[in-house]
């Protein structure tokens, strides 16, 4: 096979001029400059301490290697409490997210309804659950319910956004098919929209339950109950052996939930 062009000299590979490279250089130069500026304040110079104070690390590691299982029943009980906090936090979030997501979807409501709801969702999402948690601890006192509410508020913002993206990508044919039977708007949603988004919605909700089980652990640190509070207390009391046992329980439980929900999600899609 010989094309006419093959007779002439082979052209050189494409080359970028300096001006074309400039944006890349600026971005990379900027990133490196930021890292250098942050070196001092972030105390990166302490990196060698990780190895220098090895006797500290050794006691830590030694006790960690021998977890203290005497209170295992308590740990498992508190872990279960944490999971229950995540369960209710996610469930309440789903209840809130379903109507909010439909109201925020471009193909469901008018722009007048969407705009304020989207802004509210943006605000809810941008507040970390730790911050919302402290607010609820002030409002309802420390304990699991504050954790539930913190998760519910933050997760409803995230889920409403994800749910509405699913709603916006549906096929409107089946919805019109239902509408043409004389169905009401709500029946159109129940029979035309929900069946289309159900697998994606379930998958998102399960994923959030997974990550809420992790978040609920962290929420314990600020007094929202569950295993996190136990972890924080034993760490503050330098009880490394107890801490180790708690960490093992947390990792096992979270991994188990992850695997379970991933198995369900892969079946859905």
């Amino acid at each position: 096979m010989s094309l006419p062009a093959a007779a002439t000299a082979v052209p050189p590979p494409p080359q970028k001029t300096f001006m074309q490279r400039l944006p890349d250089l600026l971005v990379w130069g900027g990133v490196i400059a930021l890292l250098l500026i942050a070196f001092g304040p972030a105390e990166i110079s302490k990196l060698p301490l990780l190895f220098a104070r090895s006797e500290n690390m050794q006691t830590f590691a030694r006790e960690f290697a021998h977890p203290d299982w005497t209170d295992l029943k308590l740990y498992v009980g508190q872990m279960w409490l944490t999971i229950q906090i995540a369960l209710w936090g996610t469930a309440l979030a789903i209840l809130l997210a379903v109507p909010l997501s439909l109201l925020a979807s471009r193909n469901m409501t008018s722009a007048y309804a969407q705009w304020p709801i989207r802004r509210v969702l943006d605000v809810i999402r941008s507040a970390p659950d730790l911050v919302i948690g402290t607010v609820f601890i002030v409002a309802v006192g420390p304990g699991p319910f504050a954790g539930v509410m913190a998760l519910a508020v933050n997760t409803s913002g995230v889920l409403a956004k994800l749910f509405s993206e699913a709603v916006e990508s549906i096929d409107r044919g089946p919805v019109e098919g239902v509408r043409a039977t004389g169905a009401s708007k709500l029946h159109e949603i129940i029979w035309g929209v929900i069946p289309q988004v159900a697998p994606l919605w379930t998958s998102y909700a399960l994923y959030r339950f997974e990550s809420n089980s992790r978040s609920a652990t962290v929420l314990g640190l600020i007094g929202a109950g569950g295993i996190g509070q136990l972890l924080f207390d034993s760490l503050n009391g330098f009880a490394y052996a107890r801490t180790a046992a708690i960490v093992v329980v947390i990792i096992l439980a979270v991994t188990l939930i992850d695997m379970l929900s991933q198995a369900i999600r892969s079946r859905l899609l």
Partner: protein, 264 residues
């Protein structure tokens, strides 16, 4: 609107940006007619059908669409009572528009949404009457054995027959079919057209069907309405649609719109 008329379109226009999809269309349809709506792509066939079931509005102005004894839409606004009128108008779509993840039975039962109680409809607690009507419709079109299957697992022809079943459960008096056979193979297409003709002749339903295949229009419908650039250019018996008229509607390559051979 005369006594026998079930549908009356007066001076309907629809503009999409610069393009006039419908340009002052007026049409009267009598009870029990079977009408083919033909015309080249973009001539306004689908727009007209979608306007009749109020899936879209026509332009504000003098245009109005009346079905049975009530307005569907007028002056660019859909009538607030359109749902009551819609229950009596069944719509068949090119892409079937069944809800793919629901069973064939549920899809057909959805036809009763407009007449059963709100909570029953919301929760899917179909009354006995709906369940019997749904199974009767599926059985009539040879689909009863697939009643429990998800709609998207069935072939195009089966889905389209189920969509017609949904219109039957709806107890529609008018069937609007928008390119019902365009996504089907010729065997499935003929079966769907024969069902539409049977509904017209045996059940006395009024049928309006848009068709891209002119030979189907000539074979199955006694009245043909041809649209070109949003205007009605022919309205009369299918026998009167001769070669020169077809060239006028479709241009010199009019043979392309025949599946099984053009008239000479």
């Amino acid at each position: 609107m005369t006594d026998a008329a079930v549908l009356s379109i007066r001076n309907a226009s629809k503009t999409f940006g610069q393009r006039r999809a419908l340009d002052g269309v007026s049409l009267d349809v009598a009870k029990g007619e079977m009408i083919a709506l033909i015309g080249p792509s973009g001539s306004g066939k689908s727009t007209l059908l979608r306007s009749i079931s109020a899936l879209q509005t026509i332009d504000p102005g003098p245009g109005e669409i009346v079905a049975f004894d009530g307005h569907v839409q007028k002056d660019g606004k859909i009538d607030p009572n359109v749902r009551r009128t819609r229950t009596r108008i069944g719509m068949i779509f090119q892409q079937f528009n069944l809800v793919g993840r629901l069973s064939l039975f549920t899809n057909v039962a959805l036809g009763s949404l407009g007449r059963i109680g709100f909570w029953r409809a919301a929760l899917g607690l179909w009354p006995a009457e709906t369940r019997q009507a749904a199974m009767a419709a599926l059985h009539r079109f040879g689909l009863s054995e697939y009643a429990g299957q998800r709609a998207n697992t069935l072939s195009g022809g089966q889905q389209q027959r189920a969509a017609i079943g949904r219109a039957l459960v709806q107890k529609a008096k008018i069937i609007l079919a928008d390119e019902p056979v365009a996504s089907l193979d010729p065997v499935a297409a003929r079966r769907v057209m024969e069902i539409l003709r049977e509904l017209n002749q045996a059940d006395g339903l009024t049928v309006i069907v848009t068709l891209h295949q002119v030979d189907y229009a000539l074979r199955y419908c006694e009245r043909v309405v041809a649209l070109k650039a949003g205007q009605i250019v022919y309205d009369g018996p299918s026998g009167g649609l001769k070669r020169d008229k077809l060239i006028d509607i479709y241009g010199p390559e009019f043979e392309d719109v025949f599946w099984e051979g053009a008239p000479t």
